[in-house]
């Protein structure tokens, strides 16, 4: 994996360290990053995206505390081995919570009934 796995939006209202943690959560939950896989070094990520290395270490540190990553001595950060258990459906659904709350708020502002929105959402998702 190289530093291009992250997509950084410096102008976003969301701090860069949180963008990285959030993307790690998704990549790991979605299986794009497998257990044991090594992450690009802090320096590589900082150099590739021209961002402050402290921001990257902060993000990796948080992900380590959350149990997403583990530090391998002499090798750097890797996706935590025991993480498979947390890739449950409930866990993956939780990652959508913020977006769903946004949709719910917009729908209310537009005075759209939940039923209609849900029907549209299943259609977009390719369901019946």
């Amino acid at each position: 994996m190289d530093a291009s796995i992250f997509a950084i939006q410096p102008t976003s209202a969301e701090p860069i360290y949180r963008q990285i943690v959030e993307q790690l959560r998704r990549l790991i939950a979605g299986g794009q990053l497998a257990s044991g896989e090594l992450l690009p070094s802090v320096r590589d990520v900082a150099g590739f995206h021209a961002i402050n290395p402290m921001t990257v270490s902060r993000a990796y540190g948080i992900a380590e505390t959350e149990g997403l990553l583990e530090r391998l001595r002499g090798k750097g950060m890797a996706v935590a081995a025991m993480h498979r258990g947390t890739q449950s459906q409930a866990h993956r659904l939780a990652l959508l919570e913020a977006q769903l709350a946004d949709v719910a708020r917009h729908a209310q502002e537009l005075e759209l009934p939940a039923e209609l929105v849900l029907r549209r959402l299943s259609k977009i998702m390719g369901g019946s």
Partner: protein
């Protein structure tokens, strides 16, 4: 970050420190009571509108001019009387470099390189090529942008402990700007280089700065971590009917033509937003730094 735990040591030996700085030109006040300290390893982005006093502040911090009032220190020494030992540790790139115009870019870099113990000649050579500077042209014949690029190369090649760049982005195209930001980021990480750069391009600052300072009408309005700034402030919009319930403590307040209000609000001690954010019709929007800057300085 030991420096933060030991404020007394940090403030006496800090790479840059000013207290109560005030200055004016021809009756117009430029700086009014500015206090600012940079801890080692900080990358501080100084932002402000044109004429906010950024260049004056930078020059006073480095002792390149005598302010009307206040104290400025560089690595603990009075800025107006810096020893050669301290001068070797710092690099400053003004907006419009003028020195040594009778030399070519290559000659200038060879010449000044002798004064710096850690000069990286190979880097200087490679960067001249990368940034498209004809090594044999006289500096006087270069465009202002090229001239500043040569000066940025000089600053980086000297491997300073403290680098001060006044509007470095103005002279660079997007690719070269990214190169510069990368250099700043990696040096801060690898060597703990302290950097102060002024800019009006907020996205540059958001990439590499650890801290941000807003200078507005000669006053420092805000000085804190970039991440913290994004998490701590937001814009609260209140419809006209609710505007009487607006909180009194706000960073800025704009009343729109329809009577509605836009306010910049701050989280309380326990991370909570002001109560008014829960009023019917109220809307709370996260703010990027650029929006925050426009709200406060606009």
């Amino acid at each position: 970050m030991n420096a933060m735990l030991q404020p007394t040591i940090e403030s006496t030996d800090a790479p840059l420190m000013v207290r109560g700085l005030a200055h004016s030109y021809e009756g117009g006040k430029v700086l009014t009571g500015v206090d600012l300290t940079l801890a080692p390893g900080t990358v501080l982005g100084l932002i402000g509108r044109n004429g906010a006093g950024k260049s004056t502040l930078i020059r006073a911090m480095l002792g390149l001019m005598q302010p009307l009032a206040g104290e400025a220190r560089v690595f603990g020494e009075p800025a107006l009387k810096l020893s050669d030992k301290v001068k070797e540790r710092i690099a400053y790139v003004p907006q419009q470099p003028e020195a040594l115009a009778w030399l070519s870019a290559e000659q200038m870099l060879d010449y000044v390189g002798r004064f710096y113990p850690r000069w990286d000649a190979a880097f200087a050579k490679a960067m001249l090529r990368k940034w498209d500077i004809a090594p044999n042209r006289l500096l006087a014949k270069l465009s202002p942008g090229e001239r500043q690029r040569v000066d940025l190369i000089r600053a980086l090649a000297s491997q300073p402990e403290l680098m001060v760049l006044d509007e470095p982005a103005a002279a660079l195209d997007p690719v070269a700007r990214r190169d510069l930001l990368r250099e700043i980021a990696l040096r801060a990480g690898d060597a703990g280089t302290t950097v102060l750069f002024s800019t009006h391009i907020v996205s540059d600052l958001e990439r590499v700065a650890s801290d941000i300072a807003f200078l507005h009408e000669g006053k420092l309005l805000l000085h804190c971590g970039v991440d913290e700034t994004k998490e701590r402030y937001a814009r609260l919009w209140l419809p006209a009917s609710m505007s009487a319930a607006a909180p009194a403590q706000v960073l800025s307040r704009h009343r729109h033509e329809d009577g509605s209000l836009s306010l910049v609000v701050e989280r309380g001690a326990h991370g909570q937003w002001p109560e008014a954010t829960g009023l019917p019709g109220a809307r709370l929007d996260a703010l990027g730094l650029e929006d925050l800057f426009v709200e406060i300085a606009g």
